[in-house]
């Protein structure tokens, strides 16, 4: 309990240490110590704004997910760039897609929405009032349902494994 008070968000603390090192742009013992200090201190200050920290199971899944997403991002960008540069506007076929969610953790939903936005020609436009659905706008597709299924299968499933 005390530990939880002192280190409200271990992950964040680590993230902050990394951030610090990036900021000072020099890996030295001093910087590491300083960064660790701030990394521990800052979350304590900002803890009230992040009441209940999410629990992350299967950290290695995170790595896998990150890699997939990065790859998708690049793919997405190439696709989109192609559409923008070479596809005549009238040939572009956009769709609204409703993606019902099984995720219930706010963090997970956010990550999913973010992923959707960053990956193949889709932008997550908004959630439903109770966070049960994501409204996705698809820049160009002939089969909206396929897109939805890919989202649920490729990302949401993994996120469920990570967050629940």
């Amino acid at each position: 309990m005390i530990a939880r008070r002192l280190v409200p968000h271990p992950i964040v603390s680590i993230l902050l240490l990394v951030v610090w090192i990036m900021l000072v742009n020099k890996v030295t013992v001093g910087n590491l110590i300083l960064g660790a200090l701030f990394g521990l201190a800052v979350p304590v200050i900002t803890a009230p704004y992040w009441p209940d920290r999410p629990k992350v199971h299967r950290p290695f899944k995170v790595v896998e997910y990150v890699l997939i997403v990065l790859w998708d991002i690049i793919r997405a960008n190439i696709e989109v760039a192609f559409i923008i540069l070479f596809k005549p506007n009238k040939k572009i076929e956009s769709h609204w897609i409703n993606v019902p969610l099984e995720l219930t953790s706010a963090e997970a939903i956010t990550v999913l929405a973010g992923t959707i936005t960053m990956t193949p020609g889709t932008v997550s436009a908004m959630l439903s009032a109770d966070g049960g659905n994501i409204l996705v706008h698809c820049l160009h597709t002939h089969d909206p349902d396929a897109v939805r299924d890919e989202i649920k299968h490729r990302y949401e499933r993994r996120l469920k494994e990570i967050f629940q």
Binding site: V27, A76, V80, L85, S128, A129, L135
Partner: protein, 131 residues
């Protein structure tokens, strides 16, 4: 080695440039606002990403000085781009699109822009709070 580095860096720069221009071009080319939204969120982000990586490589390989703080900016952008896109999309929808024009949620709560969340939007403040 030197040459390889140069080629690598140059490649990153050129690709970044192409993505960058693609994003901005899409902004004027595409016909409706939602479509335009796709362009920058992705292309430009990656464009910047490319530039930042190029910078890292440049300092590392050519100047022989380790410099990775550019990555922080990349993280920043990757973290914020979806939120930005989300907000802009809502701005567009709220101003120009009626709920009927959208697919339903198929559940008892509609889309957030048009419907109050369960349990309303808060309480009237008897402004005793704060200082």
């Amino acid at each position: 080695m030197e040459l390889v580095a140069e080629i690598l860096i140059s490649a990153f720069l050129v690709i970044a440039g192409i993505f960058g221009i693609a994003g901005s071009y899409g902004l004027i080319k595409l016909r409706d606002s939602m479509q335009r939204l796709h362009a920058p969120t992705k292309a430009t982000t990656l464009g910047v990403g490319g530039v930042l990586i190029a910078s890292v490589l440049y300092f590392a390989l050519i100047k022989q000085t380790i410099s990775f703080h550019e990555l922080l900016i990349t993280i920043f952008l990757l973290l914020t781009a979806p939120i930005t896109a989300n907000f802009i999309a809502k701005t567009f929808l709220a101003q120009n699109v009626e709920p009927e024009e959208l697919p339903g949620t198929g559940r008892d709560y509609g889309w957030a822009v048009y419907e109050d969340p369960p349990g309303g939007t808060g309480i009237a403040d008897e402004e005793q709070r704060g200082e």
